[in-house]
Structures are given as structure tokens and as C-alpha cells.
């Protein structure tokens, strides 16, 4: 007996695609995405594929097709551990982890988070922390992260036992270490902003 299952196929309408999206991804550091030929090696070796909504292979194709909203609104980009298993094995030399990071940066810029506010909140808290001190000051960073991610005091309290143990073992600093070259960091950030504006 042959069982034929009806597969619900999604129809992609050309009007819903964004032809510039692939270039945006490449510009943001996702070089090579255009070379993907859909072999699926990336998805096969990915340690977190089982919790993603689209596999890495699908995301590569969706970028090529210009499905900007779907890609930036997917949980996949926040669940990539950047472990580079896929990059090591890709026969087309696509730097998949860089493509995922490029998508994260576009998502952060445009306010997408796929219901995972923790991702952008953590990355922003870490980068801001580094801009203000030059090195990470974990205590302050975590407070800002919990604020931004919406986890608030509850989240902070959940972390407290680990934090206390770290403190007891002398693994958490009480004061930030500000580097002498903080002005250099500020200059770098300003230069990049200028370069991105095309100046």
C-alpha cells in the first residue's frame, strides 16, 4: 500500500522577497553565502540544529531568496553556537557562522529578536560594557543584561548563587579595570560609524 501524504507547501511570492538582502548580509560579514548549493552538510553536523526553527541549510537558501523578515525573525540565528563545525566541513567554503553573526547584527540593528530578547540584550550589554571600560566588568554587565532582557531582578536572583560562589573563589572583580587607551576605543567606534555612513 502506498501512502501519499499531503504536504502543505508554502508558496513564496516574489513581492515578499528582498533582492538586496543577500548583499546586506555579505556587507555585514556574511561573505560566501551566495555559493551555498544546499548539500546540507552544515545541518547534519550542527549541534543545536534540533532546537532551531530553520536548519542552517534552509537559512542559507532563504538568504539567497531574499526572505529577509523570515531570516531575521528566526530563532536559528540566536541558537547558532558559532562552533564552526559547519564552516570546517562546508564544501563550498561558506563561512556559515559568519553568515549567522551577520544576520544577528542586522537583526539587532533593525529590532528583530524572534522572541529571544536575551540574545540582543546580552550582546549589547557586553559591547557597551567593553566600550565603557575596555575590558569586561562582569557584575555591571550582568545587571544591565537582566534589565534589558526583561528578566529583571528575578533573573539576577537566579544567578546569585553562582555569582556568590565565584565571588568567594575570587573570580569576580568588585571594581572595573578601565584601560588607559579608552580614548582609542572611542576613536575606533567613531571611525567605524563614519565608515558605515560612507564618509
Amino acid at each position: 500500500m502506498i501512502i501519499v501524504e499531503a504536504v502543505q507547501q508554502e508558496i513564496i511570492k516574489i513581492k515578499d522577497t528582498n533582492k538586496d538582502f543577500i548583499n546586506e548580509v555579505i556587507q555585514a560579514g556574511g561573505e560566501g553565502v551566495q555559493s551555498c548549493y544546499q548539500c546540507g552538510t552544515c545541518a547534519g553536523g550542527c549541534p543545536t540544529e534540533y532546537v532551531m526553527d530553520y536548519s542552517p541549510r534552509k537559512i542559507m537558501r532563504m538568504i539567497q531568496l531574499g526572505l529577509k523578515d523570515k531570516v531575521l525573525e528566526s530563532t536559528t540565528i540566536w541558537l547558532c553556537a558559532s562552533c564552526n563545525t559547519c564552516v570546517t566541513r562546508c564544501p563550498r567554503d561558506v563561512k556559515i557562522a559568519n553568515v549567522m553573526a551577520a544576520c544577528k547584527s542586522l537583526a539587532i540593528k533593525e529590532g528583530y529578536h524572534a522572541g529571544m530578547k536575551e540574545g540582543p540584550a546580552f550582546y549589547n550589554a557586553m559591547v557597551d560594557n567593553m566600550k565603557s571600560h575596555g575590558r569586561l566588568f562582569e557584575g555591571e554587565m550582568m545587571v544591565k543584561y537582566f534589565n534589558r532582557s526583561g528578566k529583571g531582578l528575578k533573573g539576577l536572583l537566579e544567578m546569585a548563587p553562582l555569582g556568590y560562589m565565584m565571588f568567594k573563589k575570587g573570580k569576580i572583580a568588585i571594581m572595573p579595570h578601565n584601560i588607559k587607551g579608552l580614548d582609542q576605543i572611542k576613536t575606533i567606534v567613531a571611525n567605524i560609524e563614519k565608515m558605515e555612513r560612507g564618509e
Partner: protein, 289 residues
């Protein structure tokens, strides 16, 4: 041999025992370390996920500072190593990117030229120093200790510069040089620890770490060694939480490779920060005291 040393933020905090033990072991192996003057955070996965050029420019500041010293730079945290290695590769092989990076450094008085290499301690131990010299420095052979070497993700990936990105063996060779017994950790050697998704998907991160702990027990390893502070945090500091969440008991001590080397070289356990690990290391220490 003289090196420039980039400890990185983790080694000043949660990975303090890695810094302590690495400095001790380096001294014992006659390496001279000059710390990068006024280094900054490498930006890790965060800067790279917010802005690619920012990630390259931040690491480039450290590289430019290290170039002033003129020696190869050692970065013990695998993430710091990976990010700085990647930027350094672009500086050496991608003139367009190098120009962009130097443009981002404009006005800081710093410039990258491509004069040095970025190295991981495991690379230095096995290739610059060599197993033979390590064995010479051993005063207490770690006989009878079964060790699973966990390499983690980006120490050898994606380029496999000093060891195989799929099945590396450098750490196992060091274990052997110390007189201990390497346990074949198979594909789990480089399987992701889940650390980077701890924030967005805690249960998946726990699952991934639990696989490593479970396999180490299954393969009858006494301890796991790591060479990355994030892997170490997941396996060591989070081990009690993982046991609680998954209702399992592992109790596997997790040592940094430099802590294990230090023990075999007869360095005092306190100097190696062996009291700073979360899972008790007392049993291992007692075996060789």
C-alpha cells in the same frame, strides 16, 4: 623562548586558575611572557554579532600593541585566540580588509602590519616546546590517571592550523608526556559544549554539556581537561546545576591542561589555583602529593 601574553577578560575572572597555572607552567618550561601592555577585551562573540568591523578593529588594537613587542602572541582562551587569529589572518592575507582595519584604527596612533603570529598554548606546548621537553620537566609522573582531553570548538576550527579540526591529538600527546593515560574521547573531543547558547537556550546548553560529562564517565575517565574558560565554566562551574536539572550525578573534576601539567611538574597546587575549581580536585591532587 619569548612570547607576548594576552590573558583576556575571562582569565582575570572566572578562569583565574587558568591564568595562574599557565604563568607557572610557562615559567617552568623556560618561556618568557611579556603581557600585552594595556590590552582590551577581544569582543568575543558579542562584538562579532553586533558589528563585524568592530570585532576586527578591537582585536587589531591588541595585535598592534603586540606587534610593538615583536614576539608571537599567546591567547589561552579559545575564543580570544580564535577572534584574534581570524583578524591576524585577514591582516596577513586580505589587503582590502587590512586597509579597512587600519582605517578603523586611524587617529589612535596604532597600525597593524602583519608581523606576528597568534598562538594557542596547546600549539606552543606541543609544537614549540615539544613532548620530550615537557617529559623532562616532569617530577611526578601522573601514573594511573585516566584523562579525557576536551578540545572544544574553536581551538582547531575552522582552519586546523596546528591540529586536526575533527580529531585533534595534541592534548592527548601532552597527557602522555606527563605519564598519565589518555582516554580516547572520540568525536566528543570537539563537540560543542553549548556555552554560547546558555543565554538563549539554557536547556540545550545543559544537554550538550551533559553529553560530554556522561561520555567521560562511560569511557572511564578520571578527569576531563580543557583549554578554554567557557568550556571550563560549562563543565565545572555549571556541573552542579546540570546535575540538579537532569537528575544525574557526574562528579567529574575538570582541570585546565596547565593545571594538570603543573601538578606533574611538582608545582604547589595552590599556585595552580586548584582550590578555585568548583568540582573538588582534592582527589586528583592527593594522588600525586
Amino acid at each position: 623562548m619569548k612570547y607576548t601574553y594576552y590573558p583576556g577578560c575571562s582569565l582575570e575572572a572566572s578562569g583565574k586558575e587558568y591564568d595562574m597555572s599557565f604563568r607557572e607552567v610557562a615559567k617552568g618550561l623556560d618561556m618568557e611572557l611579556v603581557e600585552v601592555e594595556d590590552w582590551n577585551c577581544c569582543g568575543a562573540t558579542a562584538a562579532y554579532s553586533v558589528n563585524d568591523l568592530l570585532s576586527h578593529a578591537l582585536t587589531a588594537r591588541n595585535i598592534a600593541l603586540a606587534e610593538k613587542e615583536g614576539h608571537d602572541m599567546i591567547a589561552p582562551c579559545s575564543e580570544c585566540y580564535h577572534k584574534q587569529f581570524k583578524t591576524n589572518k585577514a591582516i596577513h592575507h586580505n589587503p582590502d580588509k587590512k586597509d579597512k582595519i587600519n582605517k578603523a584604527l586611524d587617529g589612535t596612533g596604532l597600525k597593524v602590519e602583519g608581523k606576528i603570529n597568534i598562538k594557542h598554548p596547546v600549539d606552543v606546548f606541543i609544537n614549540d616546546i615539544g613532548a620530550e621537553k615537557i617529559t623532562e620537566k616532569v617530577t611526578k609522573k601522573l601514573e594511573g590517571l585516566k584523562v579525557a582531553s576536551y578540545y572544544g570548538c574553536v581551538m582547531t576550527r575552522p582552519d586546523g592550523i596546528f591540529d586536526s579540526p575533527e580529531y585533534p591529538t595534541a592534548m592527548d600527546k601532552i597527557v602522555k608526556a606527563l605519564g598519565a593515560t589518555p582516554v580516547d574521547f572520540r568525536e566528543f573531543k570537539t563537540k560543542c559544549c553549548g556555552g554560547p547558547v546558555l543565554i538563549t537556550k539554557e536547556d540545550a546548553a545543559y544537554d550538550l554539556t551533559a553529553v560530554l560529562l556522561g561520555k567521560a564517565k562511560e569511557f572511564d575517565a578520571d578527569i576531563i581537561i580543557t583549554a578554554c574558560p567557557l568550556c571550563h565554566m560549562m563543565l565545572d562551574a555549571k556541573q552542579p546545576d546540570i546535575e540538579l536539572a537532569l537528575k544525574k550525578k557526574y562528579g567529574v573534576p575538570i582541570l585546565y591542561i596547565s593545571q594538570l601539567m603543573g601538578l606533574a611538574m611538582g608545582i604547589e597546587p595552590k599556585k595552580l589555583g586548584l582550590d578555585k575549581n568548583f568540582v573538588d580536585t582534592g582527589k586528583v591532587v592527593k594522588m600525586f602529593q
